[in-house]
Symmetry: C2
Subunit: 356 residues, 2 copies
């Protein structure tokens, strides 16, 4: 096709560097293999069948997803082993969708309470579940000490209990990754021991996050589920977890206005997403201008403060590294995929917006 | 159809109360009429043809949009008078799209620099433009004092200069609305006088934002372009610009997990958007529980701290008022439209994701 800089597509659009993407996939896959971990990457980051296939080809056993809707899209795309790492609530319609999906593929879902376990067992008999435990992120998940009780009720309700899982999301803080990986392993160990004590043979101990990937304790975990690593993003850069050279997805934007040392790009929160952690330096970063800062974001404007001497011309094309790539991808219909700057393909964000 | 609480659709989804929507549209329309202002609402908020039609039926002269892509969708939907309130950069392909659009409908676009005016005049001769001025929000827009120079170059380049415009986005701060409306009027007056002095007859002085709508100075402005008012949102509540009863769009979510006084909803940043202004009390508000606070947001989880005694059961359906409704709507494919709690229709978010 065309050089991505000459691509006959108006900005803003999302561009993927295939060499970097493949490098990122290989790095994590190699780590999993050398650590003896089963790799089940979280595909909510990319929502893209082509990238899921690259992950399987590189050794992943299956995929993780966040919603039934995402799982339906990937099942339609030929993926036959999916874990929905979420405490899915079995409303009447969702239970019916789960039952259909469970007949088509090898499905597992999360459960984190006795009440939900009972309802889920009634709604989708025989469904495979993992008990979610809270390892310090304080979101969903029961306390590790309750995992045995939840698993016991789940088994009695007719569910197949396959193990325990957690998301160490408290790794998303500068300097926190290694402690988060420690508490992840500790919580999974406690929970897993309680299942064994309750007579439930359920060997899976699943965790993992991109910031903490290299600290993952493979003496405790059996499976890990990083997501962001395929693309990386400004958060991973600022957490010290990757360099600009390991960022495979950027947003192509155009300079539409200039004042003093500020430029305005035509890419705002409706393209980049509005994520900004308290510790972030701005609303994203600029490829090739590490000192530039995105100081403000509207729906269609990014205000960028540029170091003296680097001010680009009006109409220049700039590559923005978004703060949180999962939300960026969820705003787009497609990814323009390039190798060596030449666009090779356009991939659909097939599960975009499938939030239920 | 069905009562929205019994709607056979899995959460999360967006729900619009038609009575409140119509009341919001009428309130602003009445204000425009009684103030002698031309109303050209910003349809980037709803991106929905049906709501645009309600706005025209209620007296709006045409619509404002943010991108060429949005304008194309509304032109396809039969709208024939559109202002793209943005300093559109005339790349080769975008200029061709502008020229096509300009043949189909009465089109105007923003311009804020001499360089862009020259290129735009060459690319789309005869195009109607308004000069964007910065009235204090410090995003795009030239200084009001430069408006005469930009307009002169635009006219010489063969563009039809129709007036000046600004967005007083600095109204998005508690207590700032009235001062923002004052600086809006002052900037438009200066700019408009400079156009007249340069011999350019261009009567439009266009401004307006939802937080500052009631302070709009109709002795200076001729046109106003509020957007958010059709739905309102948590930001408008916390700015003191509306009550919960004036919020017409909510996100239906389900309680999927509970711990102590916290509940977890199945609606996160991929449904609500991640917007959180520094002055916001959280990541949105809860309808019917004004003291509840959304303290954390992940992609598919909202963590809500609930006052003692109000803790809902697992599986309960909760209505979330998003912080910034424009970004919420841009994440969804459709709106479930109800009157008196009974769903009447499903409207497409027709221009969703049309960011270029």
């Amino acid at each position: 096709m065309a050089a991505s800089s000459e691509l006959n597509v108006d900005t803003p659009f999302l561009q993927v560097d295939l060499d970097i993407l493949e490098g990122n996939i290989a790095r994590i896959s190699d780590f999993a293999k050398s650590s003896g971990l089963v790799l089940r990457p979280h595909a909510k980051t990319h929502k893209c069948l082509e990238i899921g296939k690259l992950q399987l080809a590189s050794g992943a056993v299956g995929l993780t997803l966040a919603t039934v809707g995402e799982a339906e899209v990937f099942a339609d795309g030929g993926f036959d082993d999916i874990f929905i790492a979420y405490p899915v609530w079995p409303s009447e319609q969702r239970a019916a969708r789960l039952a259909t999906l469970n007949e088509r593929i090898r499905l597992s879902v999360g459960v984190d309470s006795i009440e939900t376990a009972k309802l889920l067992g009634k709604a989708v008999p025989g469904l495979r579940v993992l008990v979610e435990v809270d390892s310090g992120h304080h979101r969903s998940g029961c306390a590790p000490e309750q995992a045995g009780a939840v698993a016991t009720v789940a088994a009695k309700a007719g569910l197949e209990v396959a193990g325990v899982f957690t998301f160490p999301g408290h790794s998303y803080l500068p300097g926190a990754a290694s402690a988060a990986a420690e508490s992840e392993a500790a919580a999974l160990q406690v929970a897993s021991d309680l299942l064994a004590k309750a007579g439930i043979e359920a060997p899976i101990r699943s965790g993992g996050s991109t910031p903490s990937w290299s600290s993952t304790d493979s003496s405790v975990l059996s499976e890990f589920r990083p997501g962001v690593y395929v693309f990386n993003d400004a958060q991973q850069i600022e957490l010290g977890n990757c360099s600009f050279k390991e960022v495979s997805l950027t947003v192509s934007a155009t300079v539409v206005s200039r004042h003093g040392r500020e430029i305005i790009l035509d890419s705002g929160s409706k393209t980049l997403g509005a994520d900004r952690a308290a510790w972030a330096s701005g609303y994203g970063r600029i490829l090739g201008s590490p000192e530039a800062r995105i100081t403000a974001l509207s729906e269609h404007h990014a205000t960028v403060e540029i170091p003296a001497g680097e001010l680009p011309e009006l109409g220049s094309r700039i590559q923005v590294v978004p703060n949180h790539v999962c939300n960026t991808v969820n705003l787009a219909e497609s990814l323009f995929v390039a190798r060596g700057g030449i666009v090779q393909d356009v991939w659909a964000v097939a599960a975009r917006g499938r939030n239920s």
